[in-house]
């Protein structure tokens, strides 16, 4: 289980790299219009971050299959808990808030990198 702070700056950096500059991710006024206190993280930032946290611990593996369902948005400057559980054929990953609300859930399969 890994706790990670999802900062507004990290969201901004992802927005620039991905060119997904939708105001809901970057602009407080746009977030407020959507009934949110702060801009929200990109779902794909969280999915990418989950794979990065796993690969950081397993650097000789690459992901061959990866599925994720996005359940609810997470606002900037929140803590996300990444939980990884292995079964026989996949690694299951669940992202939750500190209150236990599920943000996203999925699974991936890995292979050894043939260097």
């Amino acid at each position: 289980m890994i706790k990670k702070s999802i900062t507004a700056e990290a969201i901004r950096q992802y927005a620039v790299a991905s060119q997904d500059l939708a105001p809901i991710h970057l602009d407080a006024d746009a977030a407020a219009k959507a009934g949110l206190e702060r801009p929200i993280a990109h779902g794909m930032y969280l999915m990418g971050l989950a794979q990065s946290l796993y690969i950081a611990e397993h650097p000789t593996q690459w992901i061959t299959q990866y599925d994720m369902k996005f359940h609810k948005p997470i606002e900037a400057d929140s803590i996300v808990i990444f939980d990884f559980t292995d079964d026989d054929c996949a690694v299951n990953v669940t992202l939750t808030t500190e209150a236990g609300d599920v943000i996203a859930s999925g699974a991936f399969s890995v292979k050894e990198v043939q260097s």
């Binding site: 620039v16 930032y45 950081a56 690459w62 990198v113």
Partner: protein
């Protein structure tokens, strides 16, 4: 027809920039950088997608990637993005429209990755939409 095609050249710099944005460790195969598994989602921004319009946000419902081989720096990918289905359902928030897209990328006619993206529009139907996630 709801299909667009685009050729994408993978540079080490582009992979590195994307990897840094998601804090991904740099991985290599035969000396070449491997793109993080989620990177094909940013290929969307290289397409001109006529069935989507700017200014409207869609929810990102699900995302899938299936690889035959890693994407590595130096590859030139022939990519095809297609709107493969549009399904309407009634949800608690009213009408929901699910748009399923498939992105297929090949290198020298060999399949590298297939990605499926489901975007959701909440509310009444419109002719064009834009994804936002």
């Amino acid at each position: 027809m709801n299909i667009v095609r685009h050729q994408i050249h993978m540079t080490a710099e582009w992979i590195s920039d994307y990897a840094q944005s998601i804090e991904a460790p740099m991985q290599r195969i035969k000396g070449n950088l491997i793109a993080p598994s989620t990177m094909p989602i940013i290929f969307w921004k290289t397409f001109d997608i006529p069935w989507l319009s700017k200014g409207e946000s869609l929810l990102h419902g699900t995302q899938k990637f299936s690889y035959q081989a890693p994407i590595t720096a130096g590859m030139t990918l022939d990519c095809e993005l297609a709107l493969t289905s549009k399904v309407q359902k009634e949800g608690r928030q009213g009408k929901l429209t699910f748009y399923t897209h498939t992105l297929v990328c090949k290198c020298e006619d060999e399949l590298i990755v297939t990605a499926e993206t489901v975007l959701i529009r909440v509310g009444d139907n419109h002719d064009k939409k834009e994804h936002n996630s």
